[in-house]
Symmetry: C2
Subunit: 232 residues, 2 copies
Amino acid sequence: MREHASDVMQDYLKNIYLINRENEGQVSTSDLAMKMGVSAPTVTSMLVKLGDKGFITYEKYKGAKLNTEGEAIALEILRHHRLIERYLVEFLGYDWSEVHEEADVLEHHISEELERRIANALGNPKYGLYGAPIPSEDLTSIAKDETTKLGEHSAGEIVVIERVKENYIGSENAPRTRDSEELQYLAEIGIIPGKQVKIESVAPFGMIKVSNEKGEHSLPKEVSMSIHVREI
Amino acid sequence: MREHASDVMQDYLKNIYLINRENEGQVSTSDLAMKMGVSAPTVTSMLVKLGDKGFITYEKYKGAKLNTEGEAIALEILRHHRLIERYLVEFLGYDWSEVHEEADVLEHHISEELERRIANALGNPKYGLYGAPIPSEDLTSIAKDETTKLGEHSAGEIVVIERVKENYIGSENAPRTRDSEELQYLAEIGIIPGKQVKIESVAPFGMIKVSNEKGEHSLPKEVSMSIHVREI
DNA sequence: GATCTTATTTAGACCTATCTAAACATATAT
DNA sequence: ATATATGTTTAGATAGGTCTAAATAAGATC
C-alpha cells in the first residue's frame, strides 16, 4: 500500500533522482530549487513532507536522498517520460527537440494501462531517444547509460552526439520553459543526435569549442555537460 | 488575451456545456455538483469565480450559462477528449469501454501541437467514437449529433447502439470513477456500439426493457437516456 | 579561531479547491 | 396562503503548494 504522491511530489522525486545521477551523494535544496524553478523555502517544506511520507531521507542542512519507495516513483515517472518521448517521435512525427516539454507534462497523467500500451507499441524498449535508458516495467532495474558527456572530452577528439539536455544543472536560472528554445538553437548549429562534432579546444571556465559542417561553436560548460556523446 | 482557466475550471466549463446539451436552459448547481462529484457549496464558489473571469453568466439561484469565452474552452476540452478517445481506440488498440477515463485526464494536458498531430493522424475527423461530434479546430462549429436516445424510443422499435454514456445526469451519486465499470457491464449484456437491440416495453418510472442475442435486460431511465442510438 | 559569505531553514502570508454545518430562497402541497 | 420540502448560498475550516523576509547554520577566509 504505497503512500500517495501528488503530481508535484512526483516531480520532486524525479528531479532528486536525476540530480543524484549527475552528482553522487545527497541532493541539495538549492539544486532542487533551481531544477524545479521554485524558491528554496518551498523546497525545504516539500522535503519535510516527502520525508514524512517515507519517500526520501532528509536531514536538515544535509540534503535529501531517495529511499526505496521514492526511487520507485522516480523511476516510474522517468519510464513514462522516456516512453512518451520516444512514442511521440516514432508515431506522431515529432522532432526530437520538441518532445521534452510535452513529456514533462504527460508523464504524470498516463495510466498504467496506457504506459503498457505505449511500451508495447514501441516493442518494450530498454532505451529511449538516443540511448537514454528506460527503467523496466517492474521498476527494479535500469540499463546502464553508455554515453559520456561532451564536456568531459579533450581537444582533438571526435564524438557522435547521442542526446541533448533532458536535464540541466548548474546554470543561474533554468526553469523548464527555456528548454525547448535552447534545443532548437542547438539543432540549428548542428548539435543533433547522430551527427558528429570535433572538439577543437577547451577554453578557460570549461568553455568548449567544437566544429562540424555548420562551422565552429563555443558552448558553456553547463551546456556541454548536458550533451551526451559517444566517442568515435 | 484569454483569461487563464485552471484544469479544474476547464472541467467545470466542459460539464456545464455537456449538461446544457442535454437540458436546455441554465445549468443548476446540483446537476453540476453531481456531475463533478463535489459538494454543492464547492460549485457555488466556483461559479462565482468563473463568472468573475467572464467565462459564464451566473445569477444566484438561477444557475449558470456559458458565454463565448467559456464555450470556447469547453469546446476545446471536448475536442481533446474526443480526439484522444478515438486515437486510443484506433492506434493503441483500446476497447471503446476503457477510453473515457483516460481521456478525461489527458484532455487537460495535451498541447495544441499534440492535439494537431493526433487530429492529423486520424485524418482531421468531424466525428469521434460512434458519431460523437468533434468541435472544429477553430472552436467555432460542431457537427450536429444525429443520434437519438434509447430512452426516447417506444416498444417494438429496433435501434442500433451508437455510443454509450460519455456523460451521465440524474442519478443519485455518479462520480467519474464508476463509469468504466458500468460501461463494462453494458458491454457484457451486449449494449455495444454497432449492435442492435429491440425495445420490448417501457415500464413505469421510465424503466425500459430491451432484448438482443444476450437475452432481455431492463435499464433504468438515467441509463437509457445516456445511450445514443440510431433507428433502423 | 573570529569573521564574513553563502546556503538553508523558520515564520508568516496567500491562493486554489475542497469540505461541513447552518442560514436562507424557491418551489410544492395542502 | 401558509407550511413543508428541496435546492442554494454563506460562513468558516482545511490541505496542498507556493512566496518573501528574516533568522540561523555551515563553510570559507584571513
